[in-house]
């Protein structure tokens, strides 16, 4: 069960990492992030149906999302940076409604069957129980991506730029770095990660038009617990939330959500900036 929690947490990590940096850097609250996740799952489905290759879907879906994300940033978000969170909430809520309905229109409201890719099917016998290979893959994928993200965040110049931007946007701009480009790329990357999460989630969780809601809210919790604008925070937060949710669900399904939120409330009250957050 711990492993299940890890698997779920891995998924959350992919979602939350992008969201956290976007929020930390650009101060944008993107309620449509969940629909990026949904798009990822559905576009992977399409790729699968057309080409039959899961691995191709794994590559193409995030790319598609990156494009969508970049387009959204340039066309819509640019205007809203100075306007405060309320309008962002309205805009992204509107987009999520539109996106979910578009998917519902094209694919229908039913849950789609997302076949487990051959090669990742089956179970691993582990210390007395069987663990699905696919879930191990999910954890593995998240570990790889997470490690890469942490590495980039801490060691590479791009990470430094983003970290600096989270701390002080204006200074970074004054240093001659093209903020617009950074923003667009960050947003696109965050969207791509969400899309990747969607692809990965396909065989693991249900694929249906409303899949964005529950996951989005948990991703937000992860971001807040971990601290806005911190990748380490997203990692730790995702682990905690993933485990809490899975353990909670074992006892009582909906209580799981309540437990997760209670955990967030506790963290916020004790440490208002989140575990690793920078902003006050």
């Amino acid at each position: 069960m711990t492993l299940n929690g890890l698997a779920f947490g891995s998924l959350l990590l992919l979602l939350a990492a992008g969201l956290s940096v976007i929020f930390g850097l650009m101060d944008v609250l993107n309620l449509a992030h969940g629909s990026f996740y949904m798009f990822g799952a559905y576009s992977a489905l399409v790729v699968l149906q057309v080409t039959g290759s899961f691995w191709l879907a794994l590559v193409l879906a995030p790319l598609l999302l990156a494009l969508i994300g970049a387009a959204m940033e340039v066309l819509f978000f640019r205007r809203l940076y100075r306007r405060g969170h309320l309008l962002q909430v309205l805009l992204t809520f509107g987009f999520s409604l539109v996106f979910v309905d578009l998917v519902r229109w094209r694919f229908g409201p039913q849950t789609q069957h997302f076949p487990t890719p051959t090669g990742l099917a089956g179970v691993i016998p582990l210390a007395g129980f069987e663990f699905p290979v696919y879930r191990a893959f999910v954890i593995g994928a998240a570990v790889v991506v997470g490690a890469a993200l942490l590495l980039a965040w801490r060691r590479l110049p791009v990470g430094a730029i983003l970290r600096a931007g989270v701390a002080d946007k204006e200074m970074v701009g004054l240093l001659g770095i093209d903020l617009n480009l950074v923003f667009t790329l960050t947003f696109a990357f965050g969207a791509a990660l969400a899309g990747l999460a969607g692809v990965v989630a396909g065989p693991y969780l249900a694929t249906y038009p409303g899949m964005d809601e529950n996951v989005l809210i948990l991703a937000l919790v992860v971001v807040v617990i971990g601290g806005l604008g911190s990748v380490e925070g997203a990692v730790v937060g995702a682990l905690l939330v993933g485990l809490a949710n899975t353990f909670g669900a074992f006892y009582r399904q909906d209580l799981a959500v309540a437990i997760v939120f209670a955990a967030m409330a506790v963290v916020l009250l004790v440490r208002p900036r989140g575990l690793f957050g920078l902003h006050a």
């Binding site: 609250l29 309620l31 819509f76 205007r79 809203l80 306007r83 969170h85 309320l86 309008l87 909430v89 309205l90 805009l91 809520f93 509107g94 987009f95 999520s96 409604l97 539109v98 996106f99 979910v100 309905d101 578009l102 519902r104 229109w105 809601e213 809210i217 937000l220 919790v221 807040v224 806005l228 009582r252 909906d254 209580l255 959500v257 309540a258 437990i259 939120f261 209670a262 967030m264 409330a265 916020l268 009250l269 208002p272």
Partner: protein
């Protein structure tokens, strides 16, 4: 002044509806009025206090469940039921507000979201005998609205018309009166010294503190009042629907009322009320016309943000800006 005139005009128009409107519109109108009360209550927090609460649906739900519970336990009469809904919601809001108000901005938003969802979780998991678990409480009967029926009859008698309205229309008028009362109450509140103090806290909390104002208390009071009014809306919803359901506490409801307030234009009371009407009418009316109503609603929101970020009330403000304001 023009705001008052607009509100009065709206009220009179709605009051006449019970006479001529077809049943479908009465039904939608009742729901829209309930949602408008809910939206006005959050305007107090969002527009006047500058506090974006993302868990307001929990108080609506608390009021809804309180009303349902007591109605099923031998409490009858409109005012007692509404009063209980109001009181329970307000009481629950105090500890939640006390904790949430230790934060501001996004963190306040997330804390209120957290508490809202915790209450939802509880409602879903509650013992069947208490709050009905995930099915909620059903079988609530509308209390007899004798006073309203009498009022209706008397008014039409004055016009020389003998009219017997079906009960649903009496209920519509009841909700309309409650909505008008809430509007009046909030209007007085925000114009009072207490309301002005909230203005000051919103505009510059730091300055207010330096002037010796314990801002926390005022915000907590406003939080409780807003919650209590949301509870009234929830109680009315229970009486309208005949049931109370945990889904009413889910975060998307909190989001929807925020959206309605923003679309209508915050800090105007009337704006969120109109926004509520718009959102609900589009949702209900459109959903019966086409399955694609979320698309339209979403596109509407996007359009608003890009074209009319101040909400509908900003449209009204520019229209009346030729009139010098004092």
């Amino acid at each position: 002044m023009t705001r008052l005139a607009a509100a009065l005009a709206g009220f009179l128009f709605l009051a006449s509806m019970s006479f001529w409107a077809p049943p479908f519109w009465i039904s939608i109108g009742t729901q829209a009025l309930i949602f408008a009360i809910f939206a006005m209550s959050i305007d107090l927090l969002l527009g006047y206090c500058g506090l974006p609460s993302f868990g307001h649906a929990a108080f609506y739900g608390a009021g809804a469940f309180a009303c349902a519970y007591f109605a099923l336990h031998q409490v009858s009469g409109l005012f007692p039921l509404l009063g209980l809904g109001c009181f329970v919601a307000g009481a629950i809001a105090i500890p939640i507000g006390a904790l949430s108000l230790r934060a501001r901005g996004v963190y306040f938003l997330m804390l209120t979201l957290a508490f809202g969802m915790m209450l939802w979780g509880y409602a879903q998991q509650s013992p069947r005998s208490f709050l009905g678990g995930s099915d909620g409480l059903i079988g609530v009967e509308r209390p007899p609205l004798d006073a309203i029926a009498w009022l209706d009859r008397s008014l039409w008698d004055l016009a020389g018309v003998d009219v017997r309205l079906p009960a649903a229309r009496h209920f519509f008028n009841t909700v309309l009166l409650v909505a008008a009362a809430v509007f009046a109450l909030l209007s007085l509140l925000v114009a009072s010294p207490f309301g002005r103090t909230l203005d000051g806290i919103r505009e510059n909390e730091h300055r207010m503190l330096a002037l010796g104002t314990p801002t926390y208390r005022y915000q907590l009071a406003a939080f409780a009042v807003a919650a209590a009014l949301a509870g009234v809306a929830g109680a009315l919803a229970t009486l309208f629907n005949g049931f109370a359901n945990p889904g009413e506490l889910y975060w998307t409801n909190s989001g929807l009322v925020l959206i309605a307030a923003i679309v209508g234009g915050t800090r105007s009371l009337l704006g969120p009320a109109v926004g509520a009407f718009l959102v609900l009418v589009v949702q209900d009316a459109l959903s019966s016309l086409s399955d694609r109503w979320p698309l339209v609603l979403g596109a509407l929101f996007i359009g608003f943000v890009l074209l009319l970020p101040g909400g509908l009330s900003s449209l009204a403000r520019t229209a009346t800006s030729v009139i010098p304001r004092r």
